[in-house]
C-alpha cells in the first residue's frame, strides 16, 4: 500500500513521456549524488505541485512556477531512478533524474568464509566486501579494497582487490599454525573485521603405549598432533580396538588434555590398535607386560 502512490505516479509520468519531449519546460539535473543538495528550475507562473517519485522515496512540494526550487542536503538519499512530475493549473510536466551513491564509502559489509578451517589449506579462506555510502547505497563505481589476514604470530597476508558492481572478493591460504586469525577488509578508513579459526588438521603419527594395570591394560596415546605440529583439540575421538581370538573390544575415547586414555581387558596375545577418523596409528601385541 505504501508503494501504491509512487507506482501510480510513476505510471502516470511514463504515460506523459511524449509530452516531456515536446514541452521540456522543467530543468532537472542529470544526476544527483545521494544526500547532496540540488535544485530544479521551473518556468511559467502560478502555483503548482512538484512530485519526485522513486522506489524508496517520495517528495511532494508546493511551488511557485518560474522559481528555482531548492532541496537541502539529505532530501534524496536512496540511489536509483526518480520520476519528477510538476502538476500546474494548466497542465502537467514531467521528467526524470538519477540519484547516485555518494562517492565516499561509509560502510563495509564483509562476508568471510569459512569461520573455521584446517591449517595449510590453499585458497581456503574467501572474503567478499560490499561497499556502501552513508545512506546504505551500494557504491558501484570501482574502488580499491584492501584485505589483510593476520595470524596470532603476527605474520600477515595482504592483498588488494578492485570492486566490480560494488563488490570485491579474494581468496587466501590458511597458515600452518592454528589459532584465531584476524581477517580485515578496509576501504577509505572504513574497515570490518572477521575472525577465522584455524584448527589442527588430521592427527599425524598417532602413537599409543600400553602398561599393565591389574587385570586390565592401560592404554594412552602420546600427545596427539597434526603434521604441522599443532595439538589436535580436546574432544577429538580416538578409537582403541583390541582383538583377541575371535572377539573384539572397541572404545571411542575423546582426547582430554591432548591425550586419549582408556583401560581395556588384558588378554595375553591380544592385538591392540589405535585410530582417529581415517588415520591409523600404531599397533601393539600385548604379552602381559
Amino acid at each position: 500500500m505504501r508503494l501504491g502512490l509512487p507506482f501510480l505516479l510513476a505510471g502516470f509520468a511514463v504515460s506523459m513521456q511524449p509530452a516531456i519531449a515536446q514541452n521540456g519546460e522543467i530543468g532537472l539535473p542529470k544526476a544527483v549524488e545521494a544526500g547532496n543538495p540540488f535544485s530544479i528550475q521551473s518556468s511559467g507562473s502560478g502555483k503548482a505541485t512538484l512530485y519526485i517519485v522513486g522506489l524508496g522515496q517520495v517528495l511532494k512540494r508546493d511551488v511557485n512556477l518560474g522559481e528555482t526550487i531548492s532541496f537541502p542536503a539529505g532530501s534524496l538519499y536512496h540511489a536509483g531512478h526518480y520520476v519528477v512530475v510538476l502538476a500546474g493549473p494548466t497542465g502537467t510536466e514531467s521528467g526524470s533524474l538519477n540519484v547516485t551513491a555518494a562517492g565516499k564509502p561509509a560502510e563495509l559489509s564483509f562476508l568471510a568464509e569459512p569461520s573455521r578451517l584446517p591449517v595449510g589449506l590453499h585458497d581456503g579462506i574467501t572474503g567478499a566486501a560490499y561497499v556502501f555510502d552513508a545512506y546504505r547505497n551500494l557504491i558501484v563505481a570501482p574502488s580499491s579494497v584492501s584485505f589483510e589476514l593476520s595470524s596470532p604470530t603476527g605474520a600477515a597476508q595482504r592483498r588488494t582487490a578492485t570492486t566490480r558492481d560494488g563488490a570485491a572478493w579474494i581468496a587466501m591460504d590458511s597458515t600452518a599454525q592454528q589459532g584465531k586469525d584476524k581477517f580485515v577488509a578496509e576501504i577509505g578508513g572504513i574497515s570490518a573485521t572477521r575472525v577465522i579459526g584455524q584448527v589442527a588438521g588430521d592427527p599425524c603419527e598417532l602413537k599409543m603405549s600400553a602398561k599393565s594395570s591389574g587385570s586390565e591394560v592401560e592404554l594412552e596415546t602420546d600427545p596427539v598432533r597434526d603434521c604441522s605440529g599443532n595439538a589436535v583439540p580436546d574432544g577429538t575421538i580416538v578409537t582403541f580396538t583390541e582383538s583377541y581370538r575371535d572377539s573384539q573390544s572397541t572404545v571411542d575415547v575423546p582426547l582430554k588434555r591432548g591425550v586419549a586414555k582408556v583401560d581395556m581387558p588384558a588378554h595375553d596375545g591380544a592385538t591392540i590398535s589405535v585410530a582417529s577418523g581415517v588415520v591409523m596409528g600404531n599397533q601393539i601385541r600385548w604379552e602381559g607386560r
Binding site: 568464509e113 583439540p233 574432544g235 580416538v238 572377539s247 573390544s249 575415547v253 577418523g277
Partner: protein
C-alpha cells in the same frame, strides 16, 4: 438428496454395529490398555497357559494379580517384580507398553517345565523385545510360573572423576547485519557408500566421518536417479545412524528404499546434512567382547560398559559389517532394553541376516547414547 440421507443412515448404522461389536467382543490387546483384566484369559491348566496368563497380566499392567500368580513370590516384593519387568532406571521401555508376547515351551515334565516368554514392547524407537526363561511348577492341578528375578544392579559408592568436556555454541543474532559472520556448520564427509539389492527393495549403506573439530548433528539423505537422471525416490537414514558425531568420529548409515529395484537405478545422489550443536564428550562407552556369531542365528554380540559416572538411559548400538575387502555389506542396529549404569556391563545381541552373515569378515561397532536430564 435421498441418496445422501441413505448414505448417512448406512454410515450411522454401521458405526453403531461396530461399537456394539467392540463392546461385546473386545480385542484382548485393546482391552489390556483399558485396564480391564476381567476379560483376560486366565488359565493355569498347562505351563504355556500359565505363562500366557502371566504375560497378559503384565500387558494389562495388573501387577498385583501377576505377582499373586507367581510360584516364587516369597523371593521378592511386588514392587521389585514391577521394576524388574519395567526396568530399574529410565530407559526406552519406561514409557512403553507390552504390545504383544510370544511363549515358547523349552522343556516339560509332569511336575515342572521351562517356558521362554518374549515380551514385545511398543517404544518410541520401535519394537523392543525382552526375553525371560521361566521355570513353571505344578502345584496341585494348577501350573504356577516362577519369575526369574534379576536383582537390581547396585553400583558401589565411589567417586568417578570426569574432566567434563563440552562444546557450547553462540549463533549469530537475528538483528545482525547480513554480512555478519556466523559459525560454520561442521565439515562432514561420506567415506563409503554402497547400494545393495534386498528382497524388500534397495538399501544404501555407508559411513560418514565428522572431519571437523566441533561436534555435529548429522543425517544423510539419498536420492535414487534413473538412467535418464530423473529422481525415483528420496529417503533418509532416520534412526539408522548415530546422529551426534564428535570430532573425527565415524558413523555407519543405512537408507531403505522399499519396493525399489537396483536395475532401475542409474546413479545415487547422496546429501549429508550437518549442523553445529552443543554437545558433551561424555559418556564414554566401551564395547567389550564383540563377537560375530555364525549361522544359524547369526548375530553380533557384545557388552556395553559405561565408563562414565552418569547413567545412560537409552543406548543404541550400530554395527557396521564389512566383507574381506573392507566394503560395507550391512549395518545392523539394536536399542538396548535397559539403562547403562556406571561400570555395569549390559549385553547386546544384534541379528544379522543369514544370507549376509556368510559375507561378513569383520565389524565395527559404535554406540549412540541418550541421557535424560543431561547432555546427549
Amino acid at each position: 438428496m435421498n441418496k445422501g440421507y441413505l448414505l448417512a443412515a448406512s454410515l450411522m448404522a454401521a458405526t453403531a454395529l461396530l461399537i456394539v461389536a467392540g463392546i461385546k467382543w473386545p480385542v484382548p490387546a485393546a482391552l489390556a490398555y483399558t485396564g480391564g483384566s476381567e476379560a483376560l484369559e486366565h488359565s493355569y491348566a498347562t505351563p504355556e497357559a500359565a505363562v500366557r496368563s502371566l504375560a497378559g497380566e503384565i500387558q494389562a499392567r495388573q501387577w498385583n494379580s501377576a505377582y499373586d500368580s507367581l510360584a516364587n513370590k516369597a523371593e521378592f516384593t511386588e514392587s521389585d517384580f514391577e521394576r524388574d519387568v519395567d526396568g530399574y532406571n529410565i530407559n526406552a521401555r519406561t514409557y512403553a507398553n507390552v504390545n504383544n508376547f510370544e511363549v515358547f515351551p523349552l522343556h516339560s515334565s509332569p511336575t515342572d517345565a521351562d517356558v521362554r516368554l518374549k515380551l514385545h514392547w511398543a517404544t518410541v524407537v520401535g519394537d523392543i523385545v525382552t526375553s525371560r526363561d521361566l521355570h513353571v511348577v505344578k502345584n496341585g492341578e494348577l501350573w504356577q510360573p516362577a519369575w526369574p528375578y534379576v536383582k537390581e544392579p547396585v553400583v558401589p559408592p565411589q567417586v568417578i572423576p570426569v574432566n567434563y568436556l563440552r562444546w557450547d555454541v553462540i549463533y549469530r543474532g537475528a538483528g545482525d547485519d547480513w554480512g555478519a559472520q556466523d559459525v560454520a556448520a561442521p565439515n562432514v564427509r561420506i567415506i563409503d557408500m554402497h547400494p545393495v539389492e534386498r528382497a524388500e527393495g534397495v538399501v544404501v549403506l555407508g559411513e560418514l566421518l565428522n572431519q571437523d573439530v566441533v561436534p555435529a548433528y548429522v543425517s544423510v539423505n539419498a536420492t535414487l536417479l534413473s538412467k535418464d537422471k530423473k529422481p525415483i525416490d528420496t529417503e533418509g537414514s532416520f534412526d539408522e545412524i548415530s546422529h551426534l558425531l564428535l570430532p573425527k568420529q565415524v558413523t555407519p548409515f543405512l537408507i531403505r528404499f522399499p519396493n525399489a529395484s537396483l536395475s532401475d537405478v542409474g546413479s545415487i545422489r547422496m546429501t549429508p546434512f550437518s549442523s553445529l550443536v552443543p554437545a558433551s564428550a561424555d559418556p564414554v562407552i566401551e564395547i567389550d567382547n564383540e563377537k560375530l556369531n555364525p549361522a544359524p542365528d547369526s548375530s553380533l554380540t557384545g557388552e556395553l560398559i559405561n565408563q562414565s559416572g552418569q547413567t545412560v538411559n537409552v543406548a543404541h548400538v550400530l554395527g557396521t559389517l564389512y566383507d574381506k575387502n573392507g566394503q560395507v555389506v550391512w549395518v545392523a542396529d539394536q536399542y538396548v532394553d535397559s539403562a547403562l549404569l556406571p561400570q555395569t556391563p549390559v549385553a547386546f545381541n544384534i541379528h544379522i541376516p543369514e544370507d549376509l552373515a556368510r559375507k561378513v569378515s569383520s565389524e565395527r561397532t559404535v554406540v549412540a547414547s541418550y541421557s535424560f536430564g543431561g547432555a546427549e
